[in-house]
Amino acid sequence: MNKQTKPLRHVLGQSQAAALLLLPFMSVYLLFLVYPFFRGVWISLHDWNLLAVAFNPDAKEFVGVSNYIKVMWGKNIIWSPLASPVLQLMGLGGAITSALLHRSGRLGRTTALAIGIGAIVFFILPGFHPGEGGRWYDRRFWPTVGNTLVFVGLTVPGVTLSALVLAVSLNRETRAMSVLRTLFFLSQVLSVTVVTLIWQIMFSPRQGLIANVTELFGGSPIVWLTDERFAMAAIVITTIWWSLGIAMILFLAGLQDISRDLYEAGALDHATGVRAFWYITLPNLKRTITLVIVLQIILHFQVFGQSHLMTNGGPNDTTQVLVRYIYQTGFRDSDLGRASAMAVFLFVIMGAFSVLQFVLGREED
């Protein structure tokens, strides 16, 4: 080996070797991620019809931020502090609570700041509403964002709580426990189309397993997927079933890092069982819990398949979510400009959470 390689060493310096090794990735990265990202922003500034531009590349027109206005704004929109009191009071309450918790030292600065900013956004955004004679230019956009938030708001606590309970119970190195962990994780590797196929039929009022069980006990079956009251619950249940595994595994990894000594010391103070969980496990798992929650928010905010395949966004738009609305605006209505403006909106929200995730990850070191 030595004899063949010696000449090459003189040919390739360190920088040249690095350039050569970086070339494949950098070319696909610039071409298929960086460039498309900026092109997406550029499309969002145009009146861009998918079909018209496909036939004639000049059929687009620069319109500035008009797509953003058409999506997010309306005629005669005003702001008042209590337009939707529940959400706004929740936001205000959240901001105050995080400030107080930070003051009393129970919340780190980053976390407090993140929750505070989120809460203030919650206070400000729902305050906008059409005034007299006004209307939103796009009546469906904000309700769609709202549905996405409801989906995230139900799925994330559902997944986090059940995964946490499971992880704590399954945190033993025995064969039975490892089999149980495998069973809970299995559904995680299935594709979204398999998951929705299974659950669509599970929820079916005529053929579904859930309906069959209900009838066994003499109840009348629920029309899950076409009833406005249950459709969102149905896709939330499906998603919890599907994505519990990752959260459980991340919690198990976090639990491994808690020293056995803490529990032994705790046992001397009679902290066992639930008390040990409350006073030892939870405080030491705080960072993992935060990380899991942020990850879940990023993941589930991008929900698409469950809504697209199980309910078609219905009934009456109650399960319409942001990514599905982007997809429909772009590929059914061919309005790529407006769809791209919404995609940029999605990116901004995801980006904020990615930064938060990055900062939280950094705090660990």
Binding site: F25, Y29, M202, I246, I326
Partner: protein, 278 residues
């Protein structure tokens, strides 16, 4: 911990574990039941969880008519191609960023790090128009290329290579071995576990991806099995028969479930990395 309490815990956890498994068992069981029976009832034996009366006709039909075998083949080609591509670009770039010194290294690393923030959903429209301009849609490379640009693999390999002690490299340098040779003969063999993790992460992603194939592959001949399954489930009961659709679902899940059961440790690791870094 008392023995008795432990067994109670195992027993108590077995119940939710079984309930968790029920939907999957039900899919497999329905796929082995005759279609004319399923048209009447889905709960013939033990709520339909036991496939009696039993038939394998759904699977036979799957391989005789319909495009499921073709879609399956497409998924294999796309997933393997994407996995190889991601391994190639990630190991090379990851090694360069972790072990080599070159101008503008820090800003370049940041530029790549920032890419982790961009979700697929935020770039699929411009990617669609780009690939349309190139005339690339309905092809294997159109399905493979976008994922190769996602920097998660680079970061996985970079953090792995960073953890290798530098004396191995220095010894080789003193021997007069070139950088590329060190990469190929010394580093890559060491990186096998990390490459395995990355390969599994990518394969799972490729096999299960739905949004990009949905916009890129419009001709049924280029559907992946994930996309094909979505296209037949919307009118499942009428056209194909419930049993056959469920058989397609089982076939579509078989590779990833086997992969999971055989390489469980790597899969869990891969999904943890994939989950925690985007």
């Amino acid at each position: 911990m008392l023995k008795g309490r432990y067994y109670w815990l195992v027993f108590a956890l077995s119940i939710p574990a079984f309930i968790w498994l029920v939907p999957t068992i039900w899919m497999v069981s329905l796929s082995f039941q005759p279609n004319d029976l399923l048209a009447r009832t889905t709960s013939s034996t033990a709520l339909g969880l036991v496939p009696l009366p039993f038939t394998a006709a759904n699977y036979a039909a799957l391989f005789q008519y319909g495009q499921t075998p073709l879609w399956f083949l497409n998924s294999v080609i796309v997933s393997l191609g994407m996995t190889l591509g991601v391994l190639l670009v990630s190991t090379t770039a990851g090694y360069a960023l972790a072990r080599l010194d070159f101008p503008y290294k820090a800003p370049l690393t940041v530029l790549i790090l920032v890419g982790l923030m961009v979700p697929e959903q935020a770039v699929f429209i411009p990617l669609y128009t780009m690939f349309a301009d190139f005339g690339w849609h309905n092809s294997y490379h159109a399905l493979m290329l976008p994922r190769m640009a996602v920097p998660i693999g680079v970061f996985l390999m970079m953090s792995f290579f960073k953890a290798i002690p530098s004396d191995i490299e220095e010894a080789a340098r003193l021997e007069g071995v070139g950088w590329l040779q060190i990469f190929w003969y010394v580093m890559l063999p060491l990186a096998r576990p990390a490459m395995m993790t990355l390969a599994i992460l990518t394969f799972l992603y490729a096999w299960n991806d739905y949004l990009w194939p949905l916009v890129s592959a419009q001709q049924r001949e280029f559907f992946t099995i994930t996309l094909g399954l979505a296209s037949i489930q919307s009118n499942f009961a009428q056209s194909e028969g419930l049993g056959r659709v469920m058989a397609s679902g089982v076939i579509a899940s078989l590779p990833v479930v086997l992969l999971f059961l055989i390489f469980q440790r790597y899969v869990v690791q891969a999904m943890t990395v994939g989950g925690s870094k985007g």
